[in-house]
C-alpha cells in the first residue's frame, strides 16, 4: 500500500502522458517533445534497473541507445525497414554489446566500473564517428520511419505517441517485475551486502551480467524508438555527456524505486526545454542546478516528501 503511494506521482504522470494529445498537447512540436521525454524515460528506467537494483553505476548507457539506433541506420541503408527485423536487431545489437563489455566491466567494481563503462561508451562513440558510410560525425538521415509488417504505422504521430508510451510502461513493469523476482532479490542483496550474498552461496557475477545485458537490451529498444522519433542518428546521441544526462535523470528522480527514473527523466527534459529557451548558455545554469541537486537533494525528486517530513520533525 505504501509502495503504491510512493509510485503515485509516476502513475499520475503516465496518465497525463496518455491524456496529453487530447487535452491540448496534440500538435507536432509538443508531441515531438513528449516522445523524446518518454524514450529518455524508458532509457532512464532501464539504467535505474542496474543502478538502483544492482548497484552498477554505468556511465556508458547511452551506447546501448546508440547500438539500437545504429542498427536502425545500418538496416535502413540495406533497405531493411520492417520492425519485425529491425526491432529485434536493435535489441540484439545492444544486448550483444552489453554482454561483451559487461563481461569485462563487471569483474571490477566501484570507481573502476564507472570508468570502464565510460570508456566502452566512448569506444562506441568513436566507432560511430568513424563510420563514414553512415555519415560519420555528421550523422545519417533515415529514409523513412520503420514499417510494421509493411504498414507505415509509425508515421502517424498519435500512433507513435502511444507506441512510445506503451514501450515506457512495458519497460517499467518488466524491470519492476524482475526486481521483485528471485533473480531481482539476489541482485538487490548483492548491492546491499555483497559479502553476505556470497556467504549464502550466490556468485554476484552471473546475476550482475544478466541484469546488465537486460538493461542493454531495453536501452537498444529505446534507441530504436529514438532513431524513429528523430528520423536521424548521429554519434552525438551516444556521447558520454548523454550517458551522464541519463545518470542525472536517475539520480534526480531518486533511487528508492524505478518510478524515480521516470520522474527524473520527465523533470530533466522539461528543465532542459525551459532553460534552453531562456539563455544561449543555459548549460551553465543547468550545471549549477545539477550540483545543487546533488548537494541538497540526496533522495532526488521522489525523496522530497520524506526529506520535508524529516525537516518538519526536527523543528
Amino acid at each position: 500500500m505504501r509502495a503504491m503511494g510512493r509510485e503515485l506521482p509516476a502513475l499520475l504522470l503516465l496518465g497525463g502522458l496518455a491524456a496529453a494529445p487530447f487535452i491540448g498537447f496534440g500538435e507536432g512540436y509538443m508531441l515531438t517533445l513528449l516522445a523524446r521525454m518518454m524514450i529518455l524515460a524508458m532509457a532512464a528506467v532501464s539504467l535505474s534497473f542496474i543502478v538502483a537494483g544492482a548497484g552498477l553505476v554505468s556511465l556508458g548507457h547511452a551506447a546501448m541507445l546508440g547500438f539500437g539506433a545504429y542498427a536502425v541506420v545500418i538496416l535502413d541503408d540495406l533497405q531493411v525497414v520492417d520492425a519485425l527485423f529491425v526491432l529485434p536487431a536493435a535489441i540484439l545489437a545492444a544486448a550483444g554489446f552489453a554482454l561483451l563489455t559487461g563481461a569485462v566491466a563487471i569483474r571490477t567494481s566501484g570507481v573502476n566500473f564507472i570508468m570502464i563503462t565510460l570508456a566502452f561508451g566512448q569506444m562506441a562513440f568513436f566507432t560511430a564517428s568513424s563510420l563514414s558510410g553512415y555519415g560519420g560525425d555528421d550523422g545519417y538521415t533515415l529514409y523513412a520511419r520503420t514499417e510494421v509488417n509493411g504498414a507505415r504505422l509509425l508515421d502517424d504521430r498519435l500512433v507513435f505517441h502511444f507506441v512510445c508510451l506503451g514501450a515506457l510502461v512495458f519497460t517499467w513493469l518488466l524491470c519492476r517485475m524482475l526486481l521483485a523476482s528471485r533473480f531481482g532479490r539476489v541482485l538487490r542483496a548483492v548491492r546491499g551486502n555483497p559479502m553476505r550474498a556470497q556467504a549464502l552461496g550466490f556468485s554476484p557475477y552471473p546475476y550482475r551480467l544478466t541484469a546488465y545485458v537486460i538493461a542493454g537490451a531495453l536501452g537498444g529498444a529505446a534507441g530504436f524508438l529514438f532513431a524513429n522519433a528523430t528520423e536521424f542518428v548521429a554519434p552525438a546521441y551516444i556521447s558520454w555527456q548523454r550517458s551522464g544526462e541519463l545518470l542525472f535523470m536517475v539520480i534526480l528522480g531518486g533511487l528508492s524505486g524505478l518510478h524515480g527514473a521516470l520522474l527524473g527523466a520527465i523533470g530533466f527534459v522539461l528543465l532542459e526545454e525551459w532553460l534552453s529557451h531562456q539563455w544561449e548558455h543555459w548549460r551553465i545554469l543547468f550545471g549549477v542546478l545539477l550540483i545543487l541537486a546533488v548537494l541538497f537533494l540526496p533522495g532526488g525528486l521522489s525523496g522530497i516528501p520524506a526529506q520535508v517530513g524529516r525537516m518538519l520533525r526536527r523543528d
Partner: protein, 307 residues
C-alpha cells in the same frame, strides 16, 4: 609504412602519452587518496589551454603566458575544490560523478560564453619554431620535442616528490590506506587539497603545452579525460608509476593505431572498406587493449590499494 613514418608516429605517440600522463597523474592521486572520482579533471586541461591563449594574447609572449598560467590554473583548481569538491568527499561515487559532470557543463559553456566556440590559435614560442633533422630530409618540430622533454622532466620531478619527500610518503600511504593516515593525525582534507591543487596545475600545464599545436576549443578536455581514465584504469588506481607506463602505452597505441590500421586493413580488404574498417578498429584499439589487460588484471598493472 616506412621506417621514417614509424619513427615520427612513435614520437607523436610518445608526446600524446606525455600529455596524458600529466593529466592522469593528478587524477590517479585524487582517486587513490580520497577515492574521489573527478570527471571535471579534463576541463582543468582546457582551462590551462585557454589561460595560455588569453595570456599569450595579452602579454605577447608564450613564456610569460606559461609562467602566469600555472599559478592561475592552480587557483582555478583550488576554487573548484572549495566551492564543490570538498562537499562531496563523504558522498558516494555516483554523487561525485554527477556533481563533477555539472562542473564540466558550467566550464565548457562558460568558456564558450567568454571566448566563443571558434578554436583559438596560440603562436608557438619563437625559439622552438624550427625542426630537428631526425633523418635525411625529415624535420621533427622542436616544439614537440620540447613537450616530450618538459613532460619527462615533470614526470621525474613528480617521481621525486612522491617517492622522496614526506608529503609524497603521506600521499602514497593515503592511497594504500586512507583511514590509517587519518588515524596518524594527518589532516587528510588538507593533504587532499594540496594533491588536488597540484593535480589541477599539472593538467593545466598539459593544456598550456598543447595549446600551440592543438586547436584550443570548448570541450577539448573531454576526450582526453576519457583517455586519462583508460590510463589510470590500466595503470592501477593511485599508482603514479602505473599511470606513467600506461600513458605511454595508450599514447603510442592510439597514435600508431590511427596511422597504421587503415594500411594494415588494406592487406585484407579493398581500399575504401579498408579505410572505414581500419578507422573503426583504430578507435577501438585502446579500449580493446584495456579490456584485455583488465581481463587478466582487474585492478590494473600496478595495483596500490590494500585489500
Amino acid at each position: 609504412m616506412s621506417l621514417t613514418l614509424l619513427l615520427v608516429q612513435g614520437l607523436n605517440g610518445l608526446q600524446l602519452g606525455i600529455l596524458l600522463f600529466l593529466i592522469a597523474a593528478g587524477l590517479t592521486l585524487v582517486f587513490g587518496v580520497m577515492d574521489f572520482i573527478n570527471l571535471a579533471h579534463g576541463v582543468q586541461y582546457m582551462v590551462g589551454a585557454y589561460l595560455a591563449a588569453f595570456l599569450a594574447a595579452q602579454t605577447g609572449s608564450f613564456w610569460a603566458a606559461l609562467a602566469l598560467a600555472l599559478p592561475a590554473a592552480l587557483v582555478v583548481g583550488l576554487v573548484l575544490e572549495f566551492l564543490v569538491f570538498r562537499h562531496l568527499y563523504d558522498r558516494d561515487h555516483m554523487a561525485q560523478v554527477l556533481a563533477t559532470f555539472g562542473v564540466i557543463l558550467i566550464l565548457n559553456d562558460g568558456i564558450k560564453a567568454l571566448f566563443g566556440s571558434a578554436p583559438l590559435q596560440v603562436p608557438m614560442p619563437e625559439a622552438l619554431t624550427g625542426g630537428f633533422p631526425i633523418m635525411d630530409g625529415l624535420l621533427y618540430p622542436h616544439y614537440r620535442l620540447a613537450i616530450i622533454a618538459g613532460g619527462l622532466a615533470t614526470a621525474a620531478l613528480l617521481w621525486w616528490l612522491v617517492e622522496r619527500t614526506k608529503a609524497g610518503m603521506l600521499i602514497r600511504a593515503g592511497a594504500t590506506n586512507a583511514p590509517m593516515v587519518a588515524a596518524l593525525g594527518i589532516d587528510i582534507r588538507r593533504l587532499f587539497m594540496v594533491v588536488f591543487g597540484f593535480g589541477a596545475m599539472l593538467a593545466g600545464f598539459a593544456g598550456v603545452m598543447a595549446a600551440p599545436i592543438l586547436s584550443v576549443e570548448p570541450g577539448m578536455g573531454d576526450n582526453l579525460l576519457i583517455l586519462a581514465f583508460v590510463v589510470i584504469v590500466i595503470g592501477g588506481i593511485g599508482s603514479v608509476r602505473g599511470a606513467f607506463i600506461a600513458a605511454l602505452l595508450v599514447g603510442t597505441v592510439e597514435t600508431l593505431g590511427r596511422s597504421m590500421m587503415p594500411d594494415l586493413m588494406r592487406l585484407f580488404l579493398d581500399p575504401s572498406a579498408a579505410r572505414q574498417v581500419g578507422a573503426a578498429l583504430a578507435s577501438m584499439l585502446i579500449y580493446i587493449a584495456m579490456a584485455a589487460i583488465l581481463a587478466f588484471r582487474p585492478a590494473g598493472l600496478f595495483p596500490v590499494r590494500a585489500a
